[in-house]
């Protein structure tokens, strides 16, 4: 009976879409079972907004606008980066609990399962964006270029999230142990700080400026600021001037690199 059912499933994209639906449902069930940890995870970026917006915000002088108008789009990008560490935690936990081992004994495609994960994670990304947008609106952030460009900004954010998901999957498969996820959680911060999320790279020493300006996080943050009509505090650097282009290209490049790496690493285990 069952082999016939298996054969009836079309290959490739359709199968991956099915796995994505299954894994999305799994995320929803996790939320239902562990609501507290979900709420804590969602509130953390809010805490960061409060910390930077009010604690440090007073010392930040933005040429044409408020610091919160500068910060919220940056934090939207940062929330996408938090997805990377969450993915490492999820993948390594599955490894530790033997879920990955079971999947490997099943007649399902490894890439399909991994791709399913990356798609399903977009749901996490959307919820993170919604929470951050609401937080922003409460603290006085004002996007003022209309809903269409606003949706385009969300598209760019999710595009970045998708790329980060693949980096997270790769690191999770590579590192294996949930303990090592802590290292990733720590490393997320320098990546975040070395960008235009919190301050303008122009305030940094030259070499840091270059790194921060070319950080994929900066490209998306700056592009989102432009799309929302928020101050960019921008420099004249080429990367800052072409932020939208880079916000499209960077995630594509990262996905092209890390998707095959993740798939290869997954297949290579124990071989």
């Amino acid at each position: 009976m069952t082999t016939a059912t298996l054969a009836a499933v079309p290959s490739g994209l359709a199968r991956s879409a099915r796995d994505a639906a299954t894994l999305t449902r799994r995320i929803l069930l996790h939320w239902k079972q562990r609501p507290v940890s979900v709420v804590l995870g969602l509130l953390f970026p809010v805490l960061v907004v409060v910390m930077f917006g009010y604690l440090f915000g007073g010392a930040m002088a933005i040429p044409n606008g408020s610091y919160l108008d500068f910060l919220i789009p940056g934090m939207l990008a940062m929330t996408m980066l938090f997805g990377l560490e969450a993915m490492v935690v999820a993948v390594t936990t599955d490894n530790a609990k033997g879920v990955t081992a079971r999947l490997r004994t099943m007649p399902v495609s490894a890439v399909s399962i991994l791709a399913g994960r990356s798609w399903a994670d977009l749901l996490n990304g959307i919820v993170g964006i919604v929470v951050m947008v609401i937080t922003g609106l409460i603290v006085g952030w004002r996007p003022d270029r209309g809903p269409l460009l606003g949706l385009a900004a969300i598209g760019l954010l999710l595009w970045l999230r998708f790329a980060f998901a693949w980096i997270g999957i790769y690191l999770g498969v590579l590192l294996k142990a949930p303990e090592s996820a802590i290292a990733v959680q720590v490393l997320v911060w320098p990546v975040g700080f070395l960008s235009s999320v919190y301050v303008s790279p122009a305030t940094m020493p030259g070499w840091l400026d270059a790194i921060a300006t070319w950080n994929p996080l900066s490209a998306t943050a700056t592009a989102v600021r432009n799309l929302y009509g928020n101050p960019t505090w921008s420099t004249s650097a080429w990367a800052a001037q072409h932020a939208t282009l880079l916000a499209l290209l960077w995630p594509a490049l990262l996905t092209i690199v890390f998707l095959p790496l993740a798939a290869r690493q997954y297949r290579r285990q124990d071989r």
């Binding site: 069952t2 082999t3 996790h30 562990r34 033997g98 879920v99 081992a101 004994t105 099943m106 007649p107």
Partner: protein, 269 residues
Amino acid sequence: MTGLAPEPAGGILAHGLSKRYGDHLVLDRFDLSVEPGTVCALLGPNGAGKTTAVRILATLLRPDAGQARVAGRDVIREPRQVRARIGVVGQHVSLDEILTGRQNLQLFGRLYHLREAEATRRADELLIRFGLSDAAGRPVAAYSGGMRRRLDLAVSLILAPPVMFLDEPTTGVDPGARLDLWASIRAIVDGGTTVLLTTQYLEEADQLADHVVILAAGRVAAQGTPDELKALVGPDRVETITRKPTLDDVFVHLTSHASAIEPARKARP
């Protein structure tokens, strides 16, 4: 294929399997033949190569040499076809601890690409079969070790595979739960499934297996039925002893429910 005679659909056949890690030869020209519908136990101490053999046969590990067919398919050339015909239970359970027992069965059923209704039907069927109906709505994190093992076994049976690999299925389980698991494994075998089981427990092999293969340092040291192996050691010994209850008996008596005790009494001579 060369070197191996065609074997019946549900069996396991391995020839000359070798696996080396660095200088250490973990498996050394390992041969195995398990008739369909029978239970074979791989017995041996830690490091004897039991798990390596199972992992190769379950397509999780590629051998350096040798060949093997499981359920009529080549483990190296047709891993996917093999995977559609086997169930694997490892030394550690493979479950999503946050989800409930039923949700685990449904999740893996859907990942096996069963249709929605079929995944649910199969989940309920297996919950009943493994005595987990009452706990079906509880998260696995709240399950006892024995319940986890049974759920793990249930998940491995979603596709009703003709061949099951059980790698030390009762390690770390208390004696009462072990008897429950033995009963479950016997039920699987009664359904016609071929089982390859690894264990460190002589009694487990004695209780469950039709055929026992003793592994030592990656090589087959001896094999045969439990009785044949016992005969190797010498003629039957007649010892007159008054058997007092062992601590095992006491433990089982005090801790497990009635249904778990019955098979044990019947099984003991």
